[in-house]
């Protein structure tokens, strides 16, 4: 399996006037194609910050980042937006659905941005929503959906245009245990089909269901727990 993400010596420093806070201190990390990786750590360990750097939502202060063979830190803003559209999918902790769009419209948005005709985009979006057992909520607005349903719509939006990597930031943090279980099962099912997933979580229970846990502490990788040796070694 090739490394789809190669991060070398990633650093992130926040400046507030003269005060500098180093949140990431030279992270070296590879993620293989088809791998399900959990990034874990205590609050303030830098796990979300690392995910933002890996997912091109932020720019590292130092380091090198290659995704699918492309040196993404050399891309300009527009190229990064296009790259995110083509290569990456996002699932956020608070679902982050556009409030004035229905479930199917939210899901079809990445397809429309790729130039797919609205009719075809809606058909594809509905198919994905059906797969995630949301066939009755297709035309509901986000405020007409439960938290678990919103998170499933968010996953549908992330996977609808078949990105190479899904980044998921605490996808179960706002959910009850039943909804959280459903979301994790969906992510595992996607991963079994070959989807690369990088998930930030603070819940040990869900972290253990991935292939590998990367444990951060004070901006460095403290330890890596390989949970599914058979799959990648």
């Amino acid at each position: 399996m090739k490394n789809i993400i190669q991060a070398k010596k990633i650093e992130k420093t926040f400046k507030d006037g003269v005060i500098e806070t180093k949140v990431l201190r030279g992270i070296d990390l590879n993620v293989r194609e088809g791998e399900f990786v959990a990034i874990m750590g205590r609050s303030g360990a830098g796990k979300s910050t690392l995910m933002y750097q890996l997912s091109l939502l932020d720019i590292p202060s130092n380091g090198e980042l290659i995704i699918d063979g492309i040196d993404v830190l050399k891309l300009n803003n527009q190229q990064k937006t296009d790259f995110r559209l083509e290569y990456l999918g996002y699932v956020f902790q608070d679902y982050a659905l556009v409030p004035e769009l229905t479930a199917v419209e939210n899901v079809s948005l990445p397809l429309l941005m790729r130039g797919i005709a609205p009719k075809d985009a809606f058909i594809k979006a509905e198919e994905v929503l059906h797969e995630l057992d949301l066939h009755r909520q297709v035309h509901n607005l986000p405020n007409q959906l439960s938290g678990g349903e919103q998170q499933r719509v968010s996953i549908a939006r992330a996977i609808v245009d078949e990105p190479k990597i899904i980044f998921s930031d605490e996808p179960t943090a706002n959910l009850d245990s039943i909804s959280a279980r459903i979301v994790i099962d969906i992510l595992k099912k996607l991963n079994r089909k070959g989807q690369t997933i990088v998930m930030v979580t603070h819940e040990e229970e869900y972290g253990k269901e991935t292939d590998r846990i990367i444990r951060l502490s004070e901006g460095v990788i403290e330890r890596e727990d390989i949970l599914n040796k058979d799959r990648f070694l």
């Binding site: 932020d58 995110r84 559209l85 996002y90 556009v98 419209e105 948005l109 990445p110 429309l112 941005m113």
Partner: protein
């Protein structure tokens, strides 16, 4: 460069944002746009309308479509008989009214004057001799009679007095602006033309808010000719009404090409507009533009604030959309489309109100100003330009705040960081 895909997705987002926004928010913004439109069109339209009302009255009650008047060097229109004959044979002329004009004095209350050392109550006046039927066909003068009755063709020693000759209609206490006191219907007044003095009875009083007619005295042309001590039959003015198939300019040119301009000044009603009216019109247009511009600026700021608040409260979602690959241009254009929808809907409602409600209303109920009956003037071309300006300004007012928010760092927007 904005491609079709960008426009389509921007419309997709912008339209849905309006469709699913609060009805009251939409109604409020559209009301603001309608009021802005009305401010742009109606304020200046009414100001100009005051003057247009005066111009329209001047045309309707005095000049007709074309007015033929004497050359400056003459006392009357030379060869009037030949000119009238040419007019009768010119195509496109619906009706015309030759008017004999003579300067004179009118004296009132002489019967009550006991002391002949007192100054006589005399006012200078242009006495106008008309054929009542012809004049009424051209100017509808009979409809201007506010007291008494209009002249009959066989009336003798009877006159119609313009309202501005009378104190009861023009209460100005100025030595340079003399008016007749205590003159009513049936009052006897004396007309003095040169050495000729004639006592006549006031049969009617006219008021048309046109100085030229409201400060004249009208009588039958046959009687006036007999008082003028002139045998040439030359008239002082000829007002002409053109039929609906011809325009005044064409008929004026035909008359000029027939050589009538050697004997008289031939003008359309527009040519004959008093210069002061044109000056006031220009001033009012400028005033209207200034007031409208202030209204436009207020509307632009309002739309800016509305869109800015909308965009800033949706900053997180703007960040999310950017994160999932919706580029900034799409989001900015979505806000521009929203602004355009508000501006276009506001303008359509405004156009409906102006052309189907306000203009017919003011046509039927003109604003009663001392010098004119004010109407609402909104020429299609000028209104179109103003709609266009409103739409452009609104689109800009929507674009700028959206641009400010969209240009923020994506992650900062998602996390709500400054």
């Amino acid at each position: 460069m904005i491609d079709l895909k960008t426009l389509k997705v921007a419309w997709f987002l912008g339209y849905r944002q309006i469709k699913r926004a609060s009805v009251w928010t939409n109604v409020l913004i559209i009301i603001i746009m309608v009021l802005t439109f009305l401010n742009l069109v109606v304020v200046s339209g009414l100001l100009v309308g005051l003057i247009e009302g005066a111009v329209a009255a001047n045309k309707k009650y005095y000049t007709g479509d074309i007015i033929i008047s004497k050359l400056k060097e003459n006392n009357s229109i030379q060869n009037s008989r030949e000119i009238i004959s040419t007019i009768e044979n010119t195509p496109g002329i619906k009706s015309f009214s030759p008017r004999y004009l003579v300067s004179g004095l009118v004296e009132a209350n002489y019967r009550n004057r006991t002391n002949f050392d007192d100054v006589a109550e005399e006012v200078g006046v242009i006495i106008t001799g008309i054929n009542p039927d012809r004049e009424d066909q051209v100017t509808g003068i009979a409809s201007l009679v506010i007291e008494g009755e209009f002249l009959e063709p066989d009336d003798f020693d009877k006159v119609i007095v313009g309202a501005l000759m009378l104190e009861k209609y023009l209460d100005i206490n100025s030595p340079g602006f003399l008016v007749l006191r205590n003159v009513e219907i049936g009052s006897k007044i004396r007309l003095k033309i040169g050495n000729s003095v004639r006592e006549v009875t006031v049969k009617g009083i006219t008021k048309g808010k046109v100085d030229e007619t409201d400060r004249r005295i009208f009588m039958n042309d046959v009687q006036l000719r007999s008082m003028m001590d002139r045998n040439d039959l030359n008239v002082g003015e000829i007002a002409i009404l053109v039929d609906s198939k011809h325009n005044p300019e064409t008929v004026r040119d035909i008359l000029i090409n027939n050589g009538l301009d050697k004997f008289a000044q031939i003008q359309t009603f527009e040519d004959a507009q008093p210069k002061f009216l044109l000056d006031i019109k220009r001033t009012f247009t400028l005033l209207g533009t200034i007031i409208s511009s202030i209204g436009l600026a207020v509307a632009a700021i309002t739309v800016f604030i509305v869109i800015f608040i909308n965009a800033i409260t949706r900053r997180k979602y703007i960040g999310i959309m950017k994160a999932i690959g919706v580029n900034g241009k799409v989001i900015e254009l979505a806000y521009v489309f929203q602004s355009l929808i508000y501006a276009i809907v506001g303008s359509i409602v405004g156009l409906f109100l102006v052309y189907f409600l306000l203009i017919p209303y003011f046509d039927n109920n003109p604003i009663n100003f001392p010098f004119s009956d004010g109407i609402l003037v909104a020429p299609a071309l000028i209104t179109t330009i103003r709609v266009f300006i409103l739409i452009i300004v609104t689109a800009l007012a929507g674009y700028i705040p959206a641009r400010i928010i969209v240009s923020k760092n994506t992650l900062d927007s998602i996390l709500g960081r400054k």
